[in-house]
């Protein structure tokens, strides 16, 4: 049994993420879940696209693929089908997965390729200077939406459920224990497991949306996260759900036929 610290590439630390960025927390949780699986380093591959979140495999001591923008899932599908014995984990961001790689995402879910996708959703294009992404909430400010975003945001977890992923969960970078458990379940589930993590981006999202401090962003995530069970209960009772809430929890767990699993 290895500990999460053994998987880190300590010579590359401290990493390039800004002060208070949630991506480092997601790396911690993923490594904690992976070290609980008892996998070997040689049998694990991390694949990522382009963006802040996609720099994560560079800090992990395994083989990794840093691929073109949005194509992480396409590369990961290739890795899994060529060598089904490898364990494939994909780190991706919201701009990477939802905007440019949207089509790869729905088709990877449809094919149900056996891998785990961890999406760090910071609701903005953080690395390029705070442009609005498909997941920027309605009314939020960014450099490309100076009067507030006029479009509705993408719900990635619901999209994955509709497209046919085997395990879908959403947590935030504040819920570390639940997130670790969700990632561990995702790693054990055959077929595509999609875990969306809402992370804070104080530099580019919070600064423009009156959440300049990290604690403000964390407090916002804590108070606006609504458990899926509670949401279903409220809906069955007919109680209106408060504005601006997002659901967290395990959205679906099922056993559709998976691709890339050795029989």
């Amino acid at each position: 049994m290895t500990s999460a610290r053994d998987w880190l590439r300590t010579d590359r630390l401290p990493h390039i993420y800004c002060t208070g960025c949630g991506n480092g927390t997601v790396i911690n949780c993923t490594l904690a879940a992976i070290s609980g699986m008892g996998w070997e380093r040689d049998e694990t591959v991390f694949v990522s696209g382009i963006g802040c979140s996609s720099r994560a495999p560079g800090y992990i001591q395994t083989d990794s693929l840093h691929t073109t923008h949005g194509r992480a899932l396409a590369f990961a599908t290739g890795v899994k089908l060529a060598k089904p014995d490898l364990n494939v984990v994909v780190f991706t961001g919201d701009g990477d997965l939802a905007a440019i790689g949207g089509n790869h995402f729905i088709h990877a879910c449809r094919r149900n390729v056996d891998m785990t996708v961890v999406c760090m959703n910071n609701q903005i294009y953080g690395m390029t200077g705070g442009q609005g992404s498909p997941t920027t909430p309605m009314g939020a400010q960014s450099t490309t939406t100076p009067y507030g975003s006029a479009e509705a945001a993408f719900d990635l977890a619901e999209l994955a459920v509709a497209a046919g992923a085997n395990y879908v969960a959403r947590w935030t970078a504040y819920h570390v224990k639940e997130l670790t458990k969700a990632i561990a379940t995702g790693l054990q589930t055959p077929g595509l497991s999609f875990i969306e993590v809402m992370t804070q981006c104080p530099t580019n999202y919070g600064r423009r949306n009156k959440q300049r401090r990290v604690s403000d962003m964390i407090e916002h995530m804590r108070t606006h996260a609504l458990l899926i069970e509670k949401k279903r209960r409220l809906e069955s009772e007919g109680t209106p759900i408060p504005e601006g809430m997002f659901t967290v929890g395990e959205l679906v767990r099922r056993a559709r036929p998976a691709m890339g699993v050795r029989r």
Binding site: L8, L13, P14, Y17, T19, G20, N23, T25, V214, I218
Partner: protein, 90 residues
């Protein structure tokens, strides 16, 4: 076990201050050599993980370590307590 903040990694985001149930982490006041205000530890021996990690054989709370985005918080083995000869002067 002993709670340690790695000053070469910490970027001073104070997330640990927010999550510690015992408020062991307190916001620092003085910037260090790199100009980063690292949180200070207030009586770290109160941490449950320091005391009971070896007894239970697993990490007990560990939320600060998990949430630290810079991987700066860890527990260090302490040297066993050595008895010192004390001269008592009358």
């Amino acid at each position: 076990m002993k709670l340690v903040i790695d000053e070469s990694r910490c970027k001073g985001c104070n997330l640990c201050v927010l999550v510690c149930p015992y408020t062991i982490f307190q916001e620092g006041t003085k910037p260090n050599r790199r100009g980063i205000v690292v949180p200070v530890l207030d009586r770290p021996e109160r941490c449950t993980n320091c005391r009971l990690q070896a007894l239970y054989g697993r990490t007990l709370c560990g939320v600060c370590q998990m949430i630290c985005p810079d991987q700066a918080i860890h527990w260090k083995e302490e040297e066993p307590y050595e008895a010192h000869r004390v001269e008592v002067e009358y």
